[in-house]
């Protein structure tokens, strides 16, 4: 049922969606080549590429810049190359998100033929009507299952023979998610080991790197804040109380509690001590399991506790008013901490002092 790809992209379309295959074909046709990257005429292109990245870091979205379509098209692959030289995971995510937001904003005003062409290019099986669209359920799930708003939950959609009805706006939201994914993939692709940045990139790379390190200081990790019983999310608190009362906890609850406590900074010893206070436990096995969760064994990955939706599925979720719109028990703990400490502050810095 997917639309046939009969749509022809104009120069203006390509300036809006410079990640399309047609955009690089266009650049080839007009004689643009990366070989010239150190030439003088390339300077404005590199400047626009740099501003795409700075806008992404500072505002979280790239500006539309449709005044000079050719510059807009050419600056995109250059920006991609810059990001790949900087090689920073945060930047990759941030830039992919910002470009996808730009595309989303533009797509919301497009005719259905263009939306359809982009959708099918990204692998969506969709049928687009005037205010609504129908999307094949597996394509829907691929992206919508990441969102936590109840409106996106499949259980709140009226499914019919594999098709999900959704608004055009919602379809565009999913398309931008797919754009973000494919950009992330391109941006994380490593360059060949001997690749050297062109001389015209050097100053930009230094500037970007220093901006990145400033940002990281500001938004550093917020875990390891210590244990405050009153700040625990109700679900974890119930598990904790049950365990201390010598009750038997199901496996998922034990895993949740152990990984939660390890993530807020308790040591393996602390957690083992808590678990072996129950009558039927074996210290050796408990220690092994806790060390595994802490990332000291096996896959060497430190586990985080399951998300709220997983806990809900297992019937372990207990909600209170602080849980509203929270997707993860660790986030709920941060809120709880803020309340316990006395309401001040926005984010992590305050907590770290506490």
């Amino acid at each position: 049922m997917a639309l046939k790809e009969s749509y022809r992209f104009t120069e203006r379309d390509l300036a809006k969606y410079p990640f399309l295959r047609e955009a690089s074909e266009y650049l080839e046709e007009v004689g643009f080549t990366v070989k010239d990257i150190e030439a003088e005429y390339f300077r404005p292109i590199i400047d626009r590429a740099y501003s795409r990245i700075v806008e992404a870091m500072e505002k979280g979205v790239v500006s539309l810049g449709l005044g000079e379509p050719r510059l807009e098209i050419a600056s995109f692959p250059v920006a991609v190359l810059l990001v790949r030289f900087v090689r920073d995971e945060f930047l990759v995510r941030r830039y992919a998100l910002a470009e996808s937001l730009r595309a989303r904003e533009l797509l919301e005003g497009e005719p259905k033929s263009l939306v359809g062409a982009l959708a099918s290019r990204l692998g969506f099986r969709a049928e687009i009507g005037n205010g609504y669209a129908k999307l094949y359920v597996l394509d829907y799930l691929k992206y919508a299952s990441r969102f936590h708003d109840p409106r996106w939950k499949l259980v709140n959609r009226v499914l019919d023979r594999g098709w999900v009805t959704l608004s055009r706006r919602e379809l565009v939201r999913l398309i931008s998610e797919a754009i973000q994914d494919s950009l992330t993939k391109i941006l994380s692709r490593p360059l060949p080991g001997d690749a050297k940045p062109p001389s015209t990139f050097e100053a930009k790379i230094i500037a970007i790197t220093s901006m990145l390190s400033d940002r990281k200081v500001k938004y550093g990790g917020w875990t390891d804040v210590g244990f405050v019983e009153d700040a625990l999310p109700p679900c974890v608190k119930a598990m904790y109380t049950a365990l201390r009362g010598g009750k038997h906890l199901p496996h998922v609850a034990r895993f949740t509690l152990a990984s939660f406590l390890l993530n807020i900074g308790l040591t393996v010893d602390d957690v083992v001590k808590l678990f072996i206070s129950t009558p039927d436990s074996d210290e050796r096995i408990t220690r092994y399991q806790v060390e595994h969760i802490a990332g000291m064994r096996g896959s060497m990955t430190k586990y985080t506790p399951p998300s709220c939706s997983t806990l809900k599925t297992h019937g372990l979720c207990i909600e209170d008013e602080l849980c509203r719109e929270v997707k993860h028990p660790l986030i709920r703990y941060r809120r709880g901490m803020r309340r316990v400490i006395g309401g001040g502050g926005e984010g992590g810095e305050k907590l770290r002092e506490a």
């Binding site: 609504y132 359920v137 597996l138 799930l141 691929k142 919508a144 299952s145 990441r146 109840p150 409106r151 939950k153 499949l154 259980v155 709140n156 959609r157 009226v158 499914l159 019919d160 023979r161 594999g162 098709w163 009805t165 009750k247 038997h248 009558p279 039927d280 096996g298 896959s299 939706s309 997983t310 809900k312 599925t313 297992h314």
Partner: protein
């Protein structure tokens, strides 16, 4: 006395193992259904003497049959996932994809008959009681309690009804084709549904969404209401919810309606004028019906209808993309019945009787002498057996095996 009991148990175990071994050296080759892409699957077994072994892989069906012949496990499993290196440890397997699987078990469905046939036993003091298993033994305070679940025809029927709901939703709402769907009897108290095709690539989040959809978890009636009004056709999920509302209203007592939280005036009009209101719902469609009923009531009805028409799957099985599931054609260690293929359609399930079709030993006419502690009345094919209570009996192999595997009898002959 204690010692001789131990010996009886040992004899019984040896007898059961011997029967399983006979099965795997002859009959199994006609019943075993190896999974597609067998060389990418992890296998796991419960062996009579050695307990659980896993991370095993086979190149072909012949290799698998060879292993079964040599080891005759009490239970056989394979991964719904296929891997690059199926016999590596969990971290090194290299997940490629996994069929989407559903498990419907009488354990997860409320049936009134369970109070009559499910028991638990305390392994420390041997105290036993009917019904749901408590956390601790009320007699000695021990926490090592064993379930003795029986499966009866009513439980099986309830599981089958639930499975039919699932198949209906998978095909009319998810659009799953019959060719991509296989229904199996689990060998105990329920059914497994394996779905193949594009769904094999689904990640865990997407599988959770599907499980939540079926269970009705996270449903928001006001959102759902808007969506029902917006849905063009009255097919799929909309039809299911409408039918459920219709069913609820046509059979509910005033007390039931009150429990749903409906307004008194609406309950009165339903009680007095049920046929007319339902008739209008059928003729005027959902939109008009919703307007007449009012927003508050319709939301409550939708919430109830979602719950009522939900399917009681075991969500853990559907979510786990590394899950081991029972091998079709292998014997279930707790019953001596086979996990066996039912088919792909609702009709095949409707006509399916596990007690006649999952019974590989039905043609063995030699009788086995055994002592039965306690067993309710049960049926294999057209023959009824029991109830037995502390008595010596002589039974054909299939029913005898069931009692022995269930742990309610021992070999006495």
């Amino acid at each position: 006395m204690e010692r001789s009991l131990e010996r009886l148990r040992e004899d019984t175990r040896r007898f059961v193992k011997n029967i399983f071994s006979k099965y795997y050296s002859s009959l199994a080759s006609t019943f075993i259904e190896e999974p597609p892409r067998i060389s990418g699957r992890e296998f796991g077994f419960n062996l009579f003497d050695k307990g659980i072994v896993r991370h095993i892989s086979f190149k072909s069906r012949d290799d698998l049959l060879e292993y079964l012949k040599a080891n005759s496990p009490s239970d056989c499993y394979y991964s719904s996932a296929f891997y690059m290196n199926p016999s590596a440890s969990m971290d090194g397997k290299g997940w490629i994809g996994a069929e989407l699987t559903f498990d419907i078990d009488a354990d997860h469905i409320h049936t009134d008959c369970k109070a009559e046939h499910d028991r638990w036993v305390c392994t420390s003091c041997r105290y036993e009681e009917d019904g749901d298993i408590p956390e601790r033994c009320p007699n000695c305070g021990g926490d090592k309690l064993e379930e003795r679940v029986w499966f009866c025809e009513r439980c099986l029927l309830a599981a089958r009804r639930e499975t039919m709901k699932l198949i209906e939703i998978l095909s009319s709402e998810f659009g799953v084709e019959e060719d991509n769907m296989t229904i199996y009897f689990s060998g105990h108290r329920g059914f497994h549904i394996h779905v193949s095709g594009e769904v094999e690539g689904l990640d865990q989040n997407s599988r959770r969404e599907i499980a939540d959809y079926l269970l009705g978890v996270g449903s928001d009636p006001s959102v759902y209401f808007e969506r029902m009004i917006a849905a063009m056709d009255a097919g799929g999920a909309k039809l299911r919810i409408l039918r459920a509302i219709y069913d609820l209203l046509s059979s509910a007592s005033p007390e039931d309606l009150k429990a749903i939280g409906l307004k008194r005036s609406f309950i009165e009009s339903i009680v007095e004028d049920r046929d007319r209101i339902l008739g209008r719902m059928l003729e005027g469609g959902f939109d008009r019906f919703a307007r007449e009923v009012g927003l508050t009531s319709i939301r409550k009805l939708i919430a109830k209808a979602v719950e009522y028409s939900s399917v009681k799957i075991d969500s853990v099985v559907t979510l786990d993309i590394h899950r081991l599931i029972r091998l079709p054609g292998s014997l279930h260690g707790k019953t001596g019945l086979m996990k066996s293929r039912v088919g792909s359609s609702l009709e095949s399930l409707e006509g399916y009787d596990p007690l006649s079709e999952a019974t590989p030993f039905r043609d063995f006419r030699d009788h086995v002498k055994l002592y039965v502690y306690s067993a309710p009345k049960f049926r294999i094919e057209d023959e009824s057996y029991g109830p037995f209570e502390g008595e010596e009996v002589s039974l054909p192999l299939q029913p005898a095996l069931l009692l022995l595997c269930k742990g309610v009898a021992y070999i006495s002959g």
